[in-house]
Amino acid sequence: MATHRHDENCQRMFALLSEYLDLELPAETCQEMDAHIAGCGPCAAFTASLRKTIELCREYRPQELPDPIARDARQKLLEAYQKMLAGRRS
């Protein structure tokens, strides 16, 4: 069990972690966070766990698929599409 003193720096980090991982922070803030994480085991572990959560999301594909499209449903879409194309040409 990782335990540590949760100091103010850690708290500030905690609020910015998503922007940090998305590279949306100003360079200076980003470097401060790099430095903090390099020296703070629990923040490093927490950041890694958040990064892995995001990776799981990116590869997440629900098991459930829609039913194959019904013939009349497809036909309706095709008609809407052709009508839209005809409107563009005229």
């Binding site: 995001i54 039913d67 194309l85």
Partner: protein, 205 residues
């Protein structure tokens, strides 16, 4: 389908290339279904949202000015179709969750300054664990407040940009970032809880 292929497909569809229609329908039916299945919570609603969304997409496709943003454009229509289908009981908090609630779990023993973190080192290599965690993640997303769920699906599952997500949801980019962070923390917490409950060896620092 790669993002570049999707954009090319949108261009072909606009140009009237015959085989583009079925490819576009197949590709986006699955995508819209995944989103609406989780947003609506009911399979039948999700199927209807898929059809209604695609119908509006084709009716209005001529208005798609920037094919590079086709995914965001389609999801904006899907989001609106989902809102109409939304069942009343959905829990929607009026205020953002406070970050304190999403901080790492407190260590037993009462010291409020100590945290616990499970051992996540099985990821990403352990295939079995990864597939278990996909289910945990699915539950976590399905059960989070709607304002977080939609942002997470668009940003982290569909990988829309912050700006595109803001457009789809009629939010400013700061609100997208705030909600995304909370959504990720919620999902992370669920996964962490699962890992600890299932006896993943815990890590020491």
């Amino acid at each position: 389908m790669e993002r570049a292929a999707e954009i090319e497909l949108a261009r072909q569809l606009l140009a009237g290339t015959p085989e583009a229609f079925d490819r576009f329908v197949d590709h986006f039916r699955a995508k819209i279904f995944h989103y609406s299945r989780i947003m609506c919570g009911h399979r039948e609603d999700a199927e209807e949202v898929v059809q209604e969304t695609l119908l509006r997409v084709f009716e209005n496709f001529g208005q798609l000015r920037e094919p590079e943003h086709v995914r965001a454009w389609v999801f904006r229509i899907a989001k609106n179709a989902c809102l109409i289908k939304r069942r009343k009981s959905v829990y929607a908090p009026q205020q953002e969750l406070s970050l304190d609630e999403l901080m790492p779990a407190r260590a037993p023993g009462g010291d409020p300054m100590k945290i616990e973190i499970a051992d996540w080192s099985g990821l990403p290599e352990d295939e079995v664990l990864r597939s278990e965690l996909q289910h945990v993640l699915e539950d976590a997303i399905a059960n989070m407040p709607e304002i977080y769920r939609s942002v997470m699906l668009l940003r982290d599952v569909e990988e829309l940009s912050t700006e595109d997500t803001a457009q789809v949801l009629d939010l400013n980019t700061d609100a997208v970032k705030t909600r995304l962070h909370r959504a990720r923390l919620l999902a992370r917490k669920q996964i962490d809880t699962y890992l600890r409950a299932n006896g993943q060896a815990v890590e020491r620092n």
